[in-house]
Subunit: 338 residues, 4 copies
């Protein structure tokens, strides 16, 4: 932590800050300037809270030096995390393609699409049984029945399944049926849910909040990891922006930033990220070329009939074509499609 004092602080003000630091058991370092004075703090083992100091008399600003996350950051774990789910490896050297319908609508629909994405080369099956919807009047998912259908599709295709949990109740069910638990963008800071997921022994995909900073995202991961669950996949799904030509703004620079700060694998969701079918294929290629560890793609064979997010689903044929291209792009980047 570095504390910047207001211009020309009084001796009393500086002494007060120094005393507070000493009293907390840390070591103050005075940096006197022409008009400005700064005080550095060392000796702390975890991140200090700026609020401890900002309200002291004469203090202008508190600049954290230690990161407010520990388990999620690279400070204590330099090497990339890597783990296996089914045949898919989330980690360096591997690129995982997750695909399936946005929502489970029926057994028939889900099996049909699951077979198609398996044939095309997907390594994990996606599908929503509990759907967070902006409007209370929209289709909110099939619930447990949807989970059972996913299980069936998983058995038939051999693909592990990822699906979203919304609250303690659905989490219990999702844990029972799924291989990876997904937490959505609106729940990134649902701290009670993060606490619960942290106690489970299944991998978690944590989507970035609608306008979360990289730091908030990693702190949310820290909630899960501090509970004991270290198998966290981060997922960039676009952030809120001022432009209406895309549903969200996919922040690939943010993917690079988070991979630099954290050892966790990062997935990109080009479907929810762009919200437009014609953007999904090129954005998936970009995610691979950038160095993301996975993509998660909405596929639907009858998008006009989809109960949810039809406009962003690609057709099974387009998906197969995309996977073919990804396979060609992977080797020069030292990657293998899982």
């Amino acid at each position: 932590m570095l504390i910047l004092m207001k211009s020309n602080p009084s001796k009393e003000q500086v002494d007060g800050v120094v005393a507070k630091i000493t009293q907390l058991g840390y070591k103050p370092h005075l940096i006197p300037g022409e008009h400005d004075v700064a005080v550095g703090i060392t000796g702390n083992e975890t991140a200090l809270d700026p609020e401890t100091f900002i309200a002291l008399d004469g203090v202008k600003e508190c600049i954290p030096v230690t990161k407010p996350y520990k388990l999620a950051g690279r400070a204590f774990k330099k090497t990339d995390t890597s783990f296996q789910v089914g045949n898919a490896t989330f980690g360096p050297g591997s690129f995982v393609v997750i695909a399936g319908p946005c929502a489970v609508e029926s057994e028939e629909q889900t099996l049909r699409i699951a077979r198609a994405v398996k044939a095309a080369g997907a390594a994990v099956l996606r599908g929503g049984a509990y759907k967070p919807r902006s409007s209370p009047y929209a289709f909110r998912g099939m619930g447990v029945d949807g989970l059972k259908i996913l299980k069936l599709a998983s058995k038939e295709t051999g693909l592990p399944v990822i699906t979203e949990a919304l609250d303690p109740e659905s989490l219990e069910k999702v844990y029972e049926y799924a291989d990876i638990i997904q937490l959505g963008t609106r729940n990134m800071q649902n701290f009670s849910l993060l606490d619960l997921v942290g106690k489970l022994d299944k991998p978690v995909m944590l989507k970035r909040g609608m306008s979360a900073t990289i730091e908030e995202w990693l702190q949310a991961a820290e909630y899960i990891m501090s509970g004991g669950n270290t198998k966290v996949i981060l997922c960039e799904r676009g952030v809120r922006s001022f432009d209406t030509n895309t549903r969200n703004m996919v922040d690939l620079g943010g993917v690079l930033a988070v991979r630099n700060l954290s050892h966790l694998p990062v997935c990109v969701d080009p479907s929810h990220g762009t919200g437009k079918r014609f953007m999904v294929t090129p954005m998936s290629r970009a995610a691979l070329a950038l160095g993301a560890n996975a993509v998660m793609i909405d596929v639907h064979d009858r998008p006009a009939e989809a109960l949810c997010d039809g406009p962003q689903a690609i057709l099974p044929d387009e998906f197969a074509e995309l996977v073919k291209t990804l396979r060609q792009l992977a080797p020069p980047l030292g990657l293998k499609l899982a």
Copy 2:
């Protein structure tokens, strides 16, 4: 709903759209242009989902005409909602000042501050017992013990109490002890929690999500209202922005927009909205002059010791001064401080 076809659509494409509309029991209206064709839809009683049409062949864009909320909007209820909590009226002609510590830290601290804000003219007491915190390592509130302290402070001062619920568990407790249930910015789209709150018979303050549009905010209110609970207070608390000089960007234009679209009372939170003590007083004055129905203010007598958000709390003396000014500004605006 208005459907815009892609340039120079084929007859088949237009016919397909018309057929879909007719099949759903609505009425299509063709608007042929030079190169562009649009199809209007009438006959629907609630908002149509753009997704029903966007994936049809030849469709470029779907523009909703009916709003996706009904109970929260003015279409079916023109007059402003107004209700009473203790002596405070949330509704036209009245301006409610809510104040208290950000977090309940001890009985002594809470009673001390409660007495001070009561003396200065607050009509409702605020104080957090369950605190959502970005970091898992930060102080997360006193829980039920905090609620009991709030109850005590309420009894002594006669002020009704508002406090935040985070999840189903804390909601049960908050419902038992508080007069107004607060849902925080991170929970604005926690749809399960909205559903639960919708079934309760106590007023709810719904804070705007970190980067929620006005429409999403009203849809969140619609969740609560569609459950039967119509006593909803909207609370603007600043949105995420690119500038770091304020903690959030207080969107007073958004307050005007939401008051224009909805009959619900709107509160402004200048403390969390700005995050800076010196901004709280002027922003509170601006909220009143703008036409907001309430303000909610962090007050702390020892901000340097506050366990949470000390930098944005104003002192009891500043608060008293502020209320005095608000009382002077109210009459020309036809307002009475509750």
Copy 3:
């Protein structure tokens, strides 16, 4: 400047940074931590450029301590700037109402509206002769003819005139005819134009850029002031946001931030800021209550015929009503309407 080194830096890396600082004639201050090392710099008289250090081996981050503006900031001028234009005082204790048509459309229209706003209590007349327009096909203003009309209206009403300059050519003309030169949001970082305006001896209103930080805004003011022209009025006109219910997001917290950092007077433009007629009156009241020094308001008596921005212009009657209210709100705030 504070330099943070990457975790566990080598002695060579730290020595390299220290050497660079010493070589530039400044004084390094080492702050060693458990894993992190920071180096403070003192002895510099103006702000250091982070770029001088960031690319050195082992450097993680450079945190500026000295502000990158000097003349615009409070470090060297504590007291608020105040100056007179006609009968209007831009400075503490005074609140200036600027009003008039968005664009000069004809002599008749401008005189008509000028008389109306003068009668209602405006202190400065606004009106655009050169209009920046997003589309090349839109009405771009009357040019010099418009300036002559403004001059005429100024003579008749006795009101000083503010109007926008777009480029070196129009600036020359505007300087000849106007009392205050306006620089628009799209030109806030038109550095060549800022340089030119800095050499003139007429007051300048500098609108905040579409998504400018407070710091960039003050640096733009610094361009003008470093040329010798210190009569700068800052104008908040709303920033770009994700919500489409308002044209821009008026950042009143930003007004407080800039007034805290700078001694310059600050105006609010509720017309361009909100883009909606019904928001102009309440937002103007809020600007006064907040502590802004002025408002600038679009007034038009026939908005449906306006060639530019009709939807945000208020009628002369509404304007008169607004000024009446502002007069009532001013005294409790220690303000006088200019």
Copy 4:
């Protein structure tokens, strides 16, 4: 244009709108609903201005159907624009690598870097002689001397040169020395400059404004094209965002959106877009895989000494490595490095 009337409009209000449309020579189409009424307009050849109608009595909203740009859009030119500069083809099937120092600092530095990027495979040389800088006290470029150095480097390496013009004065010089004229993000809506550039016969690279929508960007291109200059390259260089881990947020979804709406070639600037050296290589690969037509990269052999933007420049070796990878990724995408 589609006009939405307020709820339950009176017959007079609807008739007023219909009359206005008829009077302008267009054709009105009534779409009556339960409570809402819409009026479609056809018969217009260019985009209508919403302002013509929004202020009419009873009108709630005006929704444009025709795009406000014509020459830049695909409505009147379906096939992608393609043109040659030196050996570089800006257009389909080709991927152009532009590289060089951010700023021209000396003849020696520029020649050294020019040789290196040529050897590595760059097709165009970049380098700034006129630099827009946030602070008036920063290095603002070598001016004409810098242009002469660029010309020299161009002669020696055979690479065409791109460099930025800031204002009418520098534009004249840049036109004389450069092969492609660059307009920076801060000048995207400098309409006078766009007008001037529109009359020149050299290709123009138009960077996207700091927070410009896709539509504003294309309208800015329309300014240039309506002057007669149709050789416009759009350049995405990141937009302003709330996250501070990257300098700007690179909007690759925006690149897809603009390529969908326009036939113009699109370049990505990963250096200014991310502001971080370690992000430049992966972001460049992503740009190619996405389908951009070019990248523009800051290269510097002594970044610690760079006078401008050192932290985002990559080393010549890294650049050579990057070009090698791009060459491997191009064929599966049907691309050839220019």
